[in-house]
Symmetry: C2
Subunit: 298 residues, 2 copies
């Protein structure tokens, strides 16, 4: 049995000094000019995305403990894109980064086992994946069963950062409880099972909790004391470091904040005008890491 | 603008004479003996799965209107598996089958658009995909926007067939409504928008409604009069043709019933002992199609 995922992630965060994660969400049209060739077909585009991602990883690896490649931007290019996705995952791990595969997979029984086999089971697969819990424990257990013994983890969607998440997740229950609180209770239960909680007191079953709803994050922190929160919504989606703080435990552990576009496409932002794309990414990644580290400490 | 997905699916069902779909859920260990070589590595296994799937499609194409390849069983083999998935989708379409890609994807905004680009946008992509609606309309609209103008569709998970689906989907609301009914209302609203409803009166935004809960299916038929129901749970999961009937409209249209293992692995079942695997699949597919057609008429 390998070291627990929560312990591994905490160690990585400790080593880099900030609980942050860079989302790798590459779109061809936003790549720095040197990567774009016109005219470019699908094959040239995914090749460019691959070269860009590999350079990006080299830049952020010394700064942040984790990256979160978003599968969709690779799947857009069919099986060639999926090949690139797995190459990015492998290369990130080789560079010592923790890798959270943002795949939001969901299914039941042997079908969920097949997803887990593809996305978690290999030694060079992602360290953790995001999953969608709408199908209940039948849809979560097979991922956990694959993840836990090999020191890997899952993050179950509980409260997403997007505006319309409320349409479903805020559905109000008979006892005043909202759906996301009910899902959070199930995740807390599942994550507390024998063998899932690490030395740090946290479970390899984590939760996705958007930074855009800080009051709800505070409540969810109470419902899920043992879950590591993966926190999207900082930066491009409008949440501040102060908003993210609600997702952490009092000792400043227990969560990891993600930023994607505001870091990887930093060179398209006004404040970095005139800066070389690599330098812009490095500067933005450092500023992001410092902003979150300061907020968590303060 | 292409013909509406609902009209295309109804025409295909009419032509084949039964509202059924064969789920393509291949696992190497259950392939007929001629496909299995020992020892086999991952590469030999996915090659065998591909050969088997292509032969399977030839057998079922004259019998059923649609197939539903399950992405997980292909993704288990990494990018090589994904290449096979897309090959199966293309070949099924070439054989005149409607293809429902069972991918259960979900995300928001430009990320959901990227999934739609990968799984729906190409002329040789699937005719429809399954999606998970936990993220609300932000997570559904981008799929519909890609699907609708090209005659394609989506099936949103509303009530899944598995036992633990109830843990989340039966969450009881303040007004006695359950979560799956609330999700169904959102799906009905979204699917009623301009340009989404075909000549047949049904929308290109459909719903997944498990056959294992017939009383709930009846209620959902009322909430979603314009949704085509994709109905899993028949056969291996225990639902009968009579159970499936609740998902259809009174005129016998508006739903398509899926069977996977009970058809594609028919040769492993007692009743087909001694029968060649191809003949077993053919016999089981015909029996399935007749069983559902009779129940819907009766």
């Amino acid at each position: 049995v390998s070291e627990n995922f929560a312990d591994r992630l905490h160690a990585a965060i400790e080593q880099k000094g900030s609980p942050v994660c860079v989302g790798v969400d590459p779109t061809y049209d936003r790549l720095p000019a040197p990567f774009r060739l016109e005219p470019a077909g699908k094959s040239e585009k995914i090749d460019a995305i691959e070269r860009y991602c590999l350079e990006l990883l080299d830049i952020v690896a010394p700064i942040v403990p984790a990256v979160k490649p978003q599968s969709a931007y690779f799947e857009a290019y069919g099986s060639a894109g999926v090949r690139t996705y797995f190459k990015v995952v492998r290369e990130a791990r080789r560079l010592g980064l923790m890798v959270i595969g943002d795949v939001k997979r969901n299914d039941i029984g042997s079908t969920a086992e097949a997803y887990a086999a593809g996305h978690l089971a290999e030694t060079d697969s992602a360290d953790a994946v995001t999953i969608n819990g709408y199908l209940g424990s039948d849809g979560i257990d097979p991922f956990v069963k694959t993840a836990a013994p090999t020191g890997k983890g899952v993050f179950v969607l509980v409260r997403t950062s997007n505006p319309s998440g409320a349409q479903v997740q805020d559905f109000a229950g008979a006892d005043g409880k909202k759906l996301y609180e009910h899902v959070a209770e199930r995740v807390a239960e599942m994550g507390a099972k024998a063998g899932l909680v690490g030395r740090c007191g946290m479970s390899c079953v984590g939760a996705v909790v958007g930074a855009t709803w800080p009051a709800e994050a505070k409540r969810l922190r109470e419902i899920m004391p043992q879950q590591i929160f993966l926190v999207p919504g900082y930066g491009a989606q409008g949440a501040t470091a102060a908003d993210c703080k609600a997702s952490f435990r009092k000792d400043g552990t227990g969560a990891i904040v993600n930023a994607s576009r505001s870091v990887i496409f930093a060179y398209t932002q006004k404040e970095y005008t005139g800066m070389d794309w690599k330098h812009a990414v490095e500067t933005a990644a450092k500023a992001f890491a410092k902003d979150i580290a300061d907020a968590v400490k303060g």
